[in-house]
Amino acid sequence: MIRGLYTAVSGLISQEARQDVITSNMANANTTGYKADNLVIKSFDDVLIENYDKTVDGKRTKNKIGSLSLGSEIDETVTDFTQGNITDTEEDTDFAIAGKGFFTLEDDNGNRYYTRDGHFHVDSRGFLKSENGYNVIGKDNNSKEGPIYVGNGKLQCDDVGNITADGQKMSSLYISDFQNYNSLVKAGDNLFTGDNATEATSYSLKNKALEKSNINVINEMVNMMNVMRTFETNQKMVQTLDETLGKAVNDIGSLR
């Protein structure tokens, strides 16, 4: 009974953790370039349950009952990298990637970040920057990677990322991709950090467009209802076990 109590509680805690992730997704329903997270819950490894109910030659011996899982545990958070919907905007500095790849950003210390949020702007010194002030990396006319300089010119971009300012080609957007998306870690501010980035090949760029969050609102609502009711079921289990324990402690052997 005590064991059952802890099993039910592990269910409660796992569902609460899943709800954390679901509400985090819902809060980001309108965030550009957001990729939904899913929490994977798996059951504890089975343990062997045995008691001493078997009698052999008049002596009590171990009796294997079978294996039992002791509850559920939180396994990992999996990020869903499916394409979000692309909407048109009016700004020349908005970009969206259709396909696999990430915009490459670099901060002032040379750390690389990757993002699907293409809401950039040209700052007062003429460089293309992301929302939080990081330089957008592109390949210039000598194929050298570096920040993209636009200066005073009017920015235009084609399908493969070539950026022209007043008709003169300045840079092309450097889009990174990864062999294994499992190494990507979310770092907040719509950024990912990852290792071993290579140049992406299977993508197309859209200028004057932004990629919306890829969360499916219906999915999140249904998951939330699911979690809520599972939580309620586990809670009822705890209450039932509590009652049973109460009877075991108080009523068994009482003379009423």
Partner: protein, 272 residues
């Protein structure tokens, strides 16, 4: 349980800020020269779920988000539609550029306003009485209602049937080649359709834009886009409020784990 509550709270607060921006845009949909504001969102830091007392598989690193924040409002500088009015003092800018005005305290500001007036001294002023900066030549120092303004800003007066150049209204823009501070919004709005450059931002004379006499520039707000955004924002707000309610219900269930309702001769009792 707090994480669920706060995630939903950040969602609702962020959508609220976007709503502020949308309603401001709608209120200014008829303001000449108004440039709409945009609000984008960023997710917040991620934290580990490997907390004390949480059953986590050995060696795995599950994480959860902590919600969303609304970024600073940015201006969308797209061109507004030109509305023909026929008034000789209406000057609309087509392209990227600003008029320079001198404020009453002597400082300079920049504006996209298009409805100007001529005061009793012959000075071209905006709707707040700020002087438009004009480079006069040949001793002229005033304009009147018959002054013609060319597309490049040159002013001509009709004198005995001949057009005489009396000066020029220049258009200005941010000089991205010589500014030495790096800011996202080089021109800050100070209200009344006026903008002032931030510290370290240099301005230059803009030749890529044109001045159109007899036109006003309308607001660049598209009501269709704003209404769609309003609906999306409202529904996102509602979605997050559902998350908040669920968090509340879940916590209520936990609080009621111990303690049941009993009924004794028709009256309900809650016994802990």
């Amino acid at each position: 349980m707090q994480r669920i509550l706060y995630n939903s709270k950040t969602g609702m607060m962020a959508q609220q800020e976007k709503l502020d921006s949308i309603t401001n845009n709608i209120a200014n949909s008829e303001t000449d020269g108004y440039k709409k504001t945009n609000v984008e969102f960023s997710d917040l830091v991620y934290e580990t779920l490997n907390r004390q007392g949480y059953p986590v598989t050995k060696g795995s690193k599950p994480i959860t988000g902590t919600g969303v924040k609304a970024n600073e409002m940015t201006r969308e500088d797209t061109q507004g539609r030109l509305n023909p009015t026929g008034k000789s003092t209406d000057l609309a800018i087509d392209g990227n550029g600003y008029f320079k005005v001198i404020l009453k305290d002597g400082s300079e500001a920049y504006t996209r306003e298009s409805s100007f007036n001529i005061d009793s001294k012959g000075t071209l002023v905006d709707s707040n009485g700020n002087k438009v900066a004009i480079d006069y030549i040949n001793g002229y120092n005033s304009v009147d209602y018959s002054t013609k303004v060319d597309k490049d800003g040159s002013l001509y007066n009709l004198n005995n049937g001949k057009l005489i150049n009396i000066g020029k209204i220049n258009l200005y823009n941010v000089n991205r080649q010589t500014s030495n501070s790096s800011v996202a919004e080089p021109l800050l709005s100070v209200g009344d359709n006026l903008f002032k450059p931030q510290a370290g931002v240099a301005m230059k004379v803009e030749t890529d834009a044109s001045v159109n006499q007899g036109y006003t520039e309308m607001s660049n707000v598209d009501i269709g886009v704003e209404m769609t955004d309003l609906i999306i924002t409202q529904r996102a707000f509602e979605l997050n409020s559902k998350g908040l309610k669920t968090a509340d219900d879940m916590w209520g269930m936990v609080n009621n784990l111990r303690g049941k309702w009993y009924r004794l001769s028709g009256i309900f009792f809650y016994v802990v």
